[in-house]
Structure formats: C-alpha cells, structure tokens
C-alpha cells in the first residue's frame, strides 16, 4: 500500500511541475482569441500613450491561485520599432521577461518576446496593466535600451523568492528590481535591496509551513532558504500598491479585452 501511495504522490507532483514551469504547455484558449486579446492589450496601452508599462498574465486556473494573488507572471512591455523577417518594420510592444530555463526550473534567463507569445499559455483572457508615471517610463526604457537591465538579473530562481534580499529572484521580483533601478537611478543591488526593505511591502503567501517544507524538498523551484519568518514575495498587486503609494502609477487596470476593464 505504501508503495502505491508513494507512486501516486510522485506522479501528482510530476504532473504539477510539468504544468507549471515548463515551456511546452499547449494553449488552453483558442489561438484566434489569444491573438485578438494580445492585440487588444497593445492597443489599450498605446491609446493611453504608454511607452513602457508593467504587464501581467494569469498562467494558472483561477481556483488554483492562492488568496490575494491574481497574476502569475509579470514583465515590462516597451513600445518599440520591430524589424520583421519580411524586411518591414512595425510599431508595437516588446516584452522583457525573466523566464525559467527549460528543464532547469531553479534557473532563469532573460527573454524578450511579444504579446501573443506572452499570453500563449494564459489560462484566462485577463491582463494586468500598470502604466507608471512618464518619468519612470522614460527611465525604464533607458535601462532596457542601454542593456543595464541585465545587471539586475539573478539566475537563481525561486517561485516564492524573497524580494528583501538578492539570494533568489523570480519574474515579478525582477520587474520590481527594474522599477526600483529606474526610481533610484542605480543598478547597485545592495542599495536597491536596502530601499526595497525600507519602502516595499511584499505579499504574504498564505500556505502552511508543512506544504512549503515538502515543496522545497520535492520541487527545484520552491525554496524557503531566502526567507526568515513569514513567507512573503513580490506580486503584481504588491507592485501596484507600491507605485500607487508613492504616486508613481498613472493608470492600473485588470483588462479583459475590448475595453472591458476593472480599475485597480
């Protein structure tokens, strides 16, 4: 009997890991809808003159999301001139992401993609959009255009990375680090982390210690080593609260397509 329990335990975990951290997930929403939605997101941001904005997607079924967490992946979208393989150029948003490395879930890499790529594996046609102040937008663009954003990348990945130190990093913490680098005009990580500890409030992850303990044993991309005390991490909502608290957000919404929005 114990043998069967162990097999069930391992198999369920294997499925979960594959569903969460690997790139080879099929689209769960019809491709035509993803294409249309991705373009709607672009047009919505462009209509508001956003040259750089924070973008988020829902990569998990809503009923699997922990309380208070609404998005699972966050990045920076930058209005760009895009050279196409057919020789033409086009204007649109390029998205600057931190993604897990295929087959190495505890490692990450920086990858630039486009809205349709970004939403391809989404579980809902819902986007988080935060348009920061004009000055922060300009600084984010400069950070990325000069390549200084790469100085803020820590390839040691954890799903529940603690933003108060630089031991681990996930996509949302990387986004926060870019925002803080833009605010403080530095890529000095110790200074940025000191500022984060002083001014940023991360989101508590409400789950049991036992779950986390087993998670960290069985899953490469879950660790609590970088935490002391209660587990808290960076989320899209926490970034929005942070920017709004310091008057650095111009416009924040949950976007559902075709102008259907919910102001945050």
């Amino acid at each position: 009997m114990k043998k069967y329990i162990l097999i069930a335990f391992i198999s369920i975990f294997s499925v979960t890991v594959n569903a969460g951290s690997q790139a080879n997930q099929p689209a769960t929403i019809a491709p035509e809808k993803i294409i249309e939605f991705a373009k709607d997101v672009e047009k919505y941001a462009a209509q508001r003159g956003a040259r750089a904005f924070i973008i988020a997607r829902v990569g998990r079924p809503a009923n699997e999301l922990p309380k208070g967490i609404h998005y699972t992946h966050t990045a920076i979208a930058v209005y760009s001139t895009i050279q196409l393989d057919n020789g033409k150029t086009a204007k649109g948003y390029a998205i600057h992401n931190l993604y897990q490395v295929d087959g190495k879930p505890n490692r990450s890499q920086l990858i630039q993609d486009y809205p349709v790529d970004f939403f391809w594996g989404a579980q809902q046609l819902k986007a988080g959009i935060i348009i920061p102040s004009d000055e922060i937008q300009t600084r984010l663009i400069n950070l990325i255009a000069t390549g200084k954003n790469t100085q803020l990348h820590n390839p040691k990945y954890s799903v529940i990375a603690n933003p108060m130190n630089s031991q681990k990093q996930n996509c949302t913490e990387y986004t926060l680090d870019l925002i803080n680098a833009a605010i403080y005009e530095t890529t000095n990580t110790p200074q940025l982390k000191a500022n984060t500890r002083a001014h940023f409030t991360p989101q508590r992850v409400k789950t049991s210690r036992i779950k986390l303990m087993f998670g960290s044993i069985l899953m490469e991309d879950v660790t609590t080593k970088d935490h002391s005390g209660k587990i808290a991490t960076t989320t899209f909502g926490a970034i929005n609260n942070y920017l709004k608290q310091y008057d650095l957000a111009k416009h924040s919404v949950n976007f559902y397509g075709k102008g259907d929005i919910e102001t945050l």
């Binding site: 890991v17 951290s21 294409i35 991705a38 895009i82 486009y114 300009t138 779950k211």
Partner: protein, 126 residues
C-alpha cells in the same frame, strides 16, 4: 484506507504549490505555437503574422534635448529609435501611439525551427 485518503488529500494540497506566486514559463520557443499561428494566419484574413528579427525601444525626443549635429527636429516631442545614440530622451508624453495590425511573434529556438521546416517540407512534397 484512512492512511491512503489522508495521503491523497495531503498530496493534492501540495500540488497547489506551484501556483504560489509565479509561472515563469515562456512560450516563445514552442514549435506547436508557430505551426498554429501559421494556420491561423491562413484562415483569418485580417490577422497577418510575422516573426520579429529585433525590437528597438522607442524614446521620446524633445527638440531641446536633441544633441547638436543630429538631423534637424521640429519643435515639440517626437519619437525616435533608441538605437540612435545621438539623441537624448525626454519624459514628455506623446499621446496615443500607433500599433501595427500584424501579430508579431518571436522566432522559435533553432532546433524547433529545423523541426518546423522539416515538417513543412514533408507536407509540401505530399
């Protein structure tokens, strides 16, 4: 049996762990996505799909911020590629921006590109 049920409940509760905060999975290099996009392009006449070679951030350029020696700029703010290092950025908002109707996607990884090409070659020869 009780032990089995308890173990199952515990296991299922643990399975929610990856949803804790992030899903930093990227979908750029999926061969399947590119195949689907190619097919979708075929049926939806309004949506064209193109692969991107490179994207350059666009910066706002104010006339006062243009460094001497660059091409003359009209008064007010304008947009320029950041690859033009001789201009300085400005914080001015330019109002609504233009967005292409083309659906742009990143190219798949080299090994997946080869697989797609091979698949297309097989399809064409039949």
């Amino acid at each position: 049996m009780k032990l089995t049920i308890k173990a199952l409940i515990f296991t299922l509760s643990l399975s929610a762990l990856p949803a804790l905060a992030t899903d930093s999975a990227h979908h750029t290099s999926k061969a399947s996505k590119h195949s689907v996009l190619a097919v979708t392009h075929g049926v939806a006449s309004t949506a064209t799909v193109a692969s991107a070679v490179i994207a350059t951030p666009v910066i706002v350029v104010g006339s006062a911020a243009v460094v001497s020696g660059t091409a003359s700029m009209q008064a007010g703010s304008a947009l320029a590629d950041s690859s033009n290092h001789s201009v300085k950025s400005s914080n001015k908002s330019t109002g609504p921006l233009v967005i292409t109707e083309t659906t742009i996607t990143a190219d798949p990884a080299p090994n997946q590109t080869i697989k797609i090409q091979q698949k297309q070659t097989i399809t064409h020869t039949h």
